[in-house]
């Protein structure tokens, strides 16, 4: 495949990515304005109830909410292209600033959850495949299926009930104690949310690793490797795992938004100050500018990780790019 071809391919992908993000933002803009509710409540709080109609009209005019939706949309788009996403009605700060102040917390929670899910699922998957149909494999499969069925919000509640209220081991909400606190304090606050995130996702990926490995174990080249006298460990790690990894890695790339999305609910239950609680609030209180920026961000993350998955696949599995170069298209 020539450089030119590759550049063309990626350029095309980038273009569709931009187009997709644009469509997404447009749709969210219109739908969110259709929703009934009063964005003024987010800005003025309870004072809205005592406002006269004149005051209301003035306030709406000030926030630019009186114009037709399309006018508002064009204005928002024009400003957004210049990097100005408007102010958050609720926090009365730049929406971008509000998000920047919260993003770190979500990245820590989501990042820790992602790394743990990634490594533990690989471990569990290999363990299960190693003991295929043995008692350990069966018990783990049953347990894993059960764990993946428990709704995240309920698991969080049960964890709070057990570990914070009954045993009083860990704090039940927030990201740190009032008045700061060191690393230990942060970790104590992270423990419960992270374990919920990991428990909710772990099995899905572990099961995927297990099944991919078992597919590989049945392949002919494994028979050859065995007949050459290689040990089970060598066959498993050097041959099977290596072949199973590309699809696993690309799955993990796609799953970035999946796991980040999982933190939304967990954040809300634990009142963890991150993007999840922020998007919950912004949807609930019609904080339009904040909502738009959050959608823009999450949409971009999803699509970029989709592209990353494709890239990983092509890099690690030369068969795919060979097929691309030969002009074979997906059926």
């Amino acid at each position: 495949m020539s450089i030119w071809n590759m550049a063309l391919g990626w350029g095309k992908r980038l273009l569709t990515l931009l187009l997709s993000v644009f469509l997404l933002v447009t749709a969210v803009f219109y739908v969110s304005r259709l929703a009934p509710g009063d964005p003024l409540v987010a800005y003025y709080g309870d004072r809205v109830e005592r406002m006269t109609p004149d005051e209301r009209a003035w306030a709406k005019d000030r926030l630019g909410l009186n114009d037709p939706i399309t006018v508002q949309y064009v204005r928002w788009l024009g400003r957004a292209l210049h990097g100005d996403f408007g102010i958050s009605y609720q926090y009365k700060m730049d929406a971008a600033e509000v998000i920047a102040s919260r993003a770190g917390n979500t990245l820590i929670l989501g990042g820790a959850g992602f790394v743990l899910t990634f490594s533990l699922s690989l471990l569990l998957g290999v363990l299960c495949a190693w003991h295929e149909d043995g008692p350990l494999d069966r018990v783990l499969c049953k347990l894993g299926t059960a764990a993946s069925c428990v709704p995240e919000f309920w698991l969080s509640l049960v964890f709070i009930l057990v570990f914070s209220i009954t045993l009083r081991w860990l704090p039940s909400s927030g990201a740190y104690s009032i008045g700061g606190g060191g690393l230990g304090d942060r970790l104590a606050h992270l423990a419960l949310p992270v374990s919920v995130v990991v428990a909710g996702h772990l099995w899905y990926y572990a099961y995927m690793v297990r099944n991919r490995l078992l597919e590989e174990v049945r392949a002919d080249y494994v028979l050859l490797a065995k007949s050459k006298g290689l040990t089970k460990g060598r066959v498993m790690f050097r041959h099977c795992l290596r072949n199973a990894l590309p699809s696993y890695l690309s799955l993990m790339a796609i799953s970035v938004p999946h796991i980040l999305g999982g933190t939304y609910i967990v954040e809300t239950v634990f009142s963890y100050p991150g993007l999840g609680t922020l998007s919950y609030e912004s949807t609930r209180y019609q904080d339009y500018n904040l909502l738009m920026l959050l959608c823009l961000l999450s949409g971009t993350v999803v699509m970029v990780s989709g592209m990353a998955a494709q890239f990983i696949n092509q890099r690690l599995d030369p068969r795919l790019s060979a097929r691309d170069a030969a002009g074979v298209r997906e059926p």
């Binding site: 299926t145 039940s172 949409g299």
Partner: protein, 293 residues
């Protein structure tokens, strides 16, 4: 072997062993029984759960499980035992309806995309990707807001409408493989319309491969409803479902009333588990069939 055409040189084969009535391996009997018990209990709740689930007995708030209240009462003095069965009816209804909605949407969308010319197909598939890229929680909330006041039916529609993309993708792939086969062409040339083709010729081919996804969608929908109602974004507190029962749990946590949290959540989780193992069984038998082909 009698008559002129006697076979020569072939050892007579031993008679085929009679097909044993083989017990299907790993059939989820326990899950099926539990699930039907829960479903039957919810449907017949009027017979044995006589207390009004919405009656607030303010003298008995947050009473632990006992003789008068088998599962205790919640912080608003409602009897949890009858709430479980009455609320379960709604939760199951939303799950099944949402799965039906998502199936219809997914099948129609996937079939249209599979039959369409290349550029339309690519555009439609790009659309599903955009759809997928909105966080599902946000999507349901936005759709719900656009539909107006939340009722069980509207919530089911919304949940169903946000969860059809996986089915659409599978259907599209299957349809693309089938659409040039002779019998489809024959049916088309005899004037079969799109929906006729879909019903008579395409659907029988892809139903086995989407059946388990439909069952899994029931699970996702029940979980989504409870999550939304728990967060106060779905059904209001007065509409009793398993999710809205749990939305009182913050107060329950403070007073250590474990039964308000553990009992509805337990029912919810057991139901989800049963539905999942049914779905898993369907998936395994579908892939077994494919391997036999």
């Amino acid at each position: 072997m009698n008559g002129a055409f006697e076979r020569v040189g072939i050892r007579p084969l031993p008679p085929e062993p009679a097909a044993k009535p083989q017990r299907r391996r790993g059939a989820p009997v326990l899950s099926a029984v539990l699930l039907s018990a829960i479903a039957a209990g919810c449907l017949a709740c009027g017979l044995f759960a006589a207390k009004d689930p919405s009656y607030m007995d303010l003298e008995h708030c947050a009473v632990p499980p006992g003789n008068a209240f088998w599962f205790g009462t919640d912080t608003m003095g409602r009897d949890i035992f009858s709430m479980i069965w009455h609320g379960g009816r709604l939760s199951l209804f939303i799950g099944v309806t949402a799965a039906a909605v998502s199936t219809v949407l997914g099948v129609v969308f996937g079939a249209v995309s599979g039959c369409a010319p290349g550029w339309l197909d690519a555009a439609l598939m790009r659309l599903t990707e955009i759809w997928l890229s909105v966080p599902s929680l946000l999507l349901t909330v936005l759709l719900q807001a656009a539909l107006g006041r939340a009722s069980p039916l509207s919530l089911a529609l919304v949940i169903g409408a946000s969860d059809w993309t996986a089915i659409a993708k599978v259907v599209r792939t299957e349809v693309r493989q089938l659409r040039n086969s002779e019998y489809i062409l024959a049916a088309k040339s005899m004037g079969g319309g799109f929906f006729y083709l879909l019903r008579r010729h395409l659907a029988p081919n892809f139903i086995p491969s989407i059946l388990f996804m439909v069952v899994m969608n029931v699970r996702t929908a029940i979980a989504a409803e409870s999550t939304l109602s728990f967060m106060g974004l779905g059904l209001p507190l007065e509409t009793v479902t398993w999710g809205s029962m749990l939305s009182l749990s913050e107060k329950a946590l403070l007073s250590g009333a474990w039964w308000i949290i553990l009992i509805p959540g337990g029912f919810l989780t057991v139901t989800l588990l049963c539905v999942t193992s049914l779905g898993d069984y369907l998936r395994k038998s579908a892939s077994r069939r494919e391997r036999n082909l």
